[in-house]
């Protein structure tokens, strides 16, 4: 029980730390939404006064002149209650929640599904590979996947594009989430288009991410197999497959699970790069855009969202470990 409470406490504390960092960092940097707006308004020397800029921004709910601590408190309140404001970047005037909700399903769909798939597939292959040590699988698996796990995301993306999506009649499209003329809806055409556009980005993530899981799981598996209780199970005559799944696999899996949560940070970075190369209008792409156009409200909300997601995942994984691992329960 104490374990759970500690984890919850950690959750809250980290969230607060992230939000504070999130608030102060953009404001310490040179430039501001005002300047970004000025850039957009004054294409060619029109006399846009600072007051005018402030008025425009105030219309959008952005008041930079108040006391910074006051702003901070208001910011915390607003973030927590979901009043995330309005974009002051290239989508000037669009509510942040609208922007995020339009991009979220794509990122969740593409990246979320692929990452979970990579984890599951990777863990399974790693388990089998660790079990059949010295076999054919184990000879091939580590070298191949060491290489794939070290490949940069964007290079794999470019490679796939150059193979499948270039030329006069490319096999697969190389950008965007669905064909331009289609309207979203639950019809075969639209869904087919979504899948077509998602194949290459998904393949990129799978190829690069699966390696890490395979290797960790394999190593965990091998270490676990050296334990006494496995030897005992084998001596008792329990069928190999049951040992692999029920005894060794289950225990080797646990560190992997905690590792999964921790590695979400890498997943996020991969998202940004993959979405950038494939022009996939998800959250990663939005984040990049928001950074370059100094879109404070959007940046803050995205950062918060991502931190929240990672923390929730960590919390869930911790609970899962708690449930699956009696040792964690008794340690308290």
């Amino acid at each position: 029980m104490r374990y759970l409470i500690r984890r919850l406490g950690f959750f809250v504390l980290t969230l607060w730390a992230a939000m504070t960092l999130n608030f102060f960092i953009p404001r310490l940097m040179p430039g501001s939404p005002e300047e970004a707006l000025r850039e957009r308004l004054s294409k060619g020397g029109s006399v846009v006064t600072p007051e005018q800029l402030r008025t425009v921004l105030a219309e959008f709910g952005f008041e930079p002149d108040k006391n910074i601590l006051l702003q901070y408190v208001e910011y915390l309140k607003a973030m927590v209650t979901g009043h995330w404001g309005v974009s002051v970047g290239s989508s000037l005037g669009v509510p942040v929640t609208d922007l995020i909700s339009s991009a979220l399903p794509w990122t969740l769909g593409l990246v979320g599904i692929t990452t979970v798939l990579a984890f599951i597939i990777g863990t399974f292959i790693g388990m089998v590979s660790g079990w059949r040590r010295g076999g054919l699988i184990d000879g091939v698996v580590p070298p191949v996947f060491i290489v794939t796990s070290a490949l940069p995301y964007f290079w794999v993306a470019l490679l796939l594009i150059s193979i499948f999506a270039i030329g006069n009649n490319p096999l697969l499209p190389n950008d965007f989430n669905y064909d331009q003329g289609l309207t979203p809806g639950f019809n075969v055409q639209f869904i087919g288009s979504v899948i077509k556009h998602g194949l290459l980005p998904a393949a990129t993530i799978l190829i690069t991410a699966v390696g890490g899981w395979i290797l960790t799981m394999r190593n965990n598996m091998v270490t676990t197999l050296a334990e006494d209780y496995v030897r005992m199970a084998r001596a008792k005559g329990i069928p190999g497959r049951r040992i692999m799944f029920g005894y060794a696999g289950r225990n080797a899996f646990l560190p992997n699970l905690s590792g999964f949560a921790m590695s979400l940070g890498f997943v996020i970075s991969g998202t940004i790069l993959v979405e950038y190369v494939f022009n996939y209008p998800g959250l990663g792409y939005m984040f990049y855009n928001a950074t370059v156009s100094t879109d404070y409200p959007l940046l803050q909300s995205l950062f918060l969202l991502v931190t929240l997601a990672v923390l929730i995942c960590v919390l869930l994984c911790d609970f899962a470990v708690f449930l699956l691992d009696p040792r964690a329960r008794t340690e308290g």
Binding site: M29, P30, G31, S32, E35, A36, R38, E39, R40, L41, S42, K43, G44, G45, S46, V47, V48, T49, P50, E51, Q52, T55, V56, E59, F60, V86, S90, S91, L92, G93, V94, D98, L99, S102, N168, N174, D175, F176, N177, Y178, Q180, G181, L182, T183, P184, N279, P281, Y285, N289, V292, T294
Partner: protein, 571 residues
């Protein structure tokens, strides 16, 4: 990448120092232009009637998915609204030195002192929802901008000196504090007229700056049929006031996040109208089909801006600036840095061939700036005390992401190295760049202005002392801090001069560009424009520049769309 686009957008002239209705053969007072209203341009593509039909697809990278907002007062989204759905009072053509075409106003007349102007509003125009259009809508639009300063994108009420806008019958009078002809380009050409009956109620009335306006009602040739985050679909306005127009019935405007997919669509013909920077365009685009064409009309300059403030000892030294101007081989910068897309500029600051009649070639040749002269540059540097043991080191700031600027500067660096100048390029994020440029915290800066219908606008942006500010304070557009009362006088005279005198004045001003080297133009910034003639004709071309041709030039886009027709629909 996106960076290239931004330069191009800068040339979508939004200068507050706008065109007068003069220049280009039109008289400043009296009838608006020589063209026939129903043919919509002075020499548009096809003045005859064409059959309706066909679709045009635009390829213009916006860098984001569409928020499906069409508020013409929101600078982030008005590129998809003005020209398509909303129209201005009068169209002013930059490529013809300010020739005007009547749109919602059939005529205009300046007062003798040019401090007030009367527009005659066109009869028989209907809004796309069926309501009649009248002078009241015009008055409402301008007064809305007064009430809500956030809407006054061109600072008409605050900067241009607009004091009142009133209607009497079908005539609208705009009253200014002083001579206001330079602002004609802004208020007549760039303000889209909005319907009073929509904008005076509901959310539009309470929050006009942030109102999304998802189903815009305008007088323009098209209405928004549907909008998703990936694509905007425009349909022809059945009750458009130009009879028989528009000829094309649909416009598709997909959202592109990046250049590569847009360029691919242009090359394959999937999109027909492009506003794109395409590297290696002959190989990549032109060779794919004989019907793929491109044209890049130059409208303003990209220049090396030196800091003339005495606190910057090196760049305020005339000899140094002259040396740089002599050392540059502009043709090479154009050819290698800009792949030949942007023509070489010249030291007079007048963009050729667009503004040929203002170009003083003799003065340029007499001063020796018509071709690179490395020996002279070396001489000047030696005279200033620089040599092999004491080389001149300079830093130039530029914007991250403007890859063609980076490329041009790489060429400049090599050219200056040949005369003994060590140039370092510092790429800054747009914000940091602005923070250095506006207060004058730099030695050299690479920058471009947006210009306007005649060279007056760009030169004024660069050289007029009222556009500058002391070091440390934010200035407007005169970043070099050039202050010369003689030149100021010439600018002041321009506003009220007749056309021939204006040409003379520009030539005199460009004489100072040669003499004082306040700014060193390298290449001319262009409108990026590709067009496919497989099915569509009526495009603006080099022989027929009836409007600025890029899909991001607003409101010129309206001119193009009302001239395009589909060949297959004519059968």
């Amino acid at each position: 990448m996106r960076g290239i686009k931004r330069i191009a957008v800068a040339t979508m002239a939004v200068g507050i120092l706008a065109a007068a209705g003069c220049g280009g053969g039109d008289k400043p007072i009296g009838s608006a232009s020589s063209s026939n209203p129903s043919s919509s341009t002075s020499s548009g593509g096809g003045t005859g009637q064409f059959k309706k039909g066909g679709t045009v697809t635009i390829a213009n990278v916006g860098g984001q998915t569409w928020p499906c907002q069409f508020n013409p007062f929101n600078p982030a989204v008005n590129q998809v609204a003005l020209g398509f759905v909303y129209e201005p009072l009068t169209f002013v053509n930059v490529l013809k030195s300010g020739a005007t075409t009547p749109m919602l106003a059939t005529a205009f007349a300046w007062s003798p002192k040019k401090d007030s102007i009367v527009f005659t509003i066109r009869d028989g125009v209907k809004w796309s929802d069926g309501q009649p259009f009248s002078a009241d809508d015009v008055v409402y639009t301008f007064n809305l901008m007064k009430q809500q300063p956030a809407l006054d994108l061109y600072a008409l009420w605050s900067g241009a000196g607009l004091t009142s806008v009133t209607a009497a019958g079908n005539k609208v009078t705009l009253q200014f504090k002083g001579a206001a002809e330079p602002y004609f380009y802004n208020f007549a050409n760039q303000v889209g007229i909005v319907p009073k009956h929509i904008w005076s109620t509901g959310e539009a009335a309470s929050k006009p700056a942030t109102w999304a306006n998802p189903k815009p009602v305008g007088t323009g040739a098209f209405t928004v049929e549907s909008c998703t985050s990936n694509n905007i679909s425009y349909a022809a306005n059945g009750s458009y006031w130009q009879p028989g127009k528009p000829y094309v019935s649909k416009v598709q405007y997909p959202a592109y996040l990046d250049n590569n997919p847009a360029n691919l669509d242009l090359a394959s013909g999937k999109a027909q109208w492009g506003g794109q920077y395409i590297p290696n365009i002959d190989n990549f685009y032109k060779s794919k089909s004989p019907e793929n064409n491109y044209w890049f009309p130059p409208t303003a300059n990209v220049a090396i801006v030196p800091n003339l403030d005495p606190s910057h000892k090196v760049t305020s030294n005339l000899a140094v600036r002259q040396a740089i101007a002599y050392a540059l081989d502009r043709e090479q910068i154009s050819k290698i840095g800009e792949s030949g897309y942007q023509p070489a500029a010249n030291q007079t600051g007048v963009v050729t061939p667009t503004f040929d009649k203002y170009f003083d070639k003799d003065a340029l040749t007499a001063a020796g700036y018509d071709k690179p002269n490395q020996d002279k540059a070396k001489q000047l540097l030696e005279g200033a005390g620089y040599n092999a043991s004491n080389p001149l080191k300079l830093t130039i700031i530029s914007v991250t992401g403007y890859t063609d600027w980076d490329a041009s500067l790489a060429v400049v660096k090599q050219q200056l190295a040949a005369v003994g100048i060590e140039l370092t390029t510092q790429d800054l994020q747009q914000q940091s760049y602005n923070q250095n440029l506006y207060p004058g915290d730099y030695d050299l800066a690479y920058s471009s202005q947006s210009g306007g219908p005649t060279p007056y606008y760009e030169l004024r942006q660069q050289l007029y002392s009222k556009n500058t500010a002391p070091i440390g304070k934010q200035d407007n557009s005169n970043y070099s801090r050039y202050i010369n009362p003689e030149v100021d006088k010439l600018f002041d005279q321009y506003a009220s001069a007749d056309e021939d005198t204006q040409v003379k004045l520009i030539k005199q001003i460009s004489g100072y560009m040669i003499k004082d080297i306040p700014v060193i133009p390298t290449t001319e910034s262009v409108d990026w424009y590709q067009y496919n003639t497989k099915d569509l004709e009526g495009w603006p071309t080099q022989d027929n520049p009836y409007a600025q041709p890029a899909p991001y030039n607003i409101p010129d886009v309206g001119q193009v769309l009302t001239n395009l027709y589909s060949k297959s629909a004519q059968k």
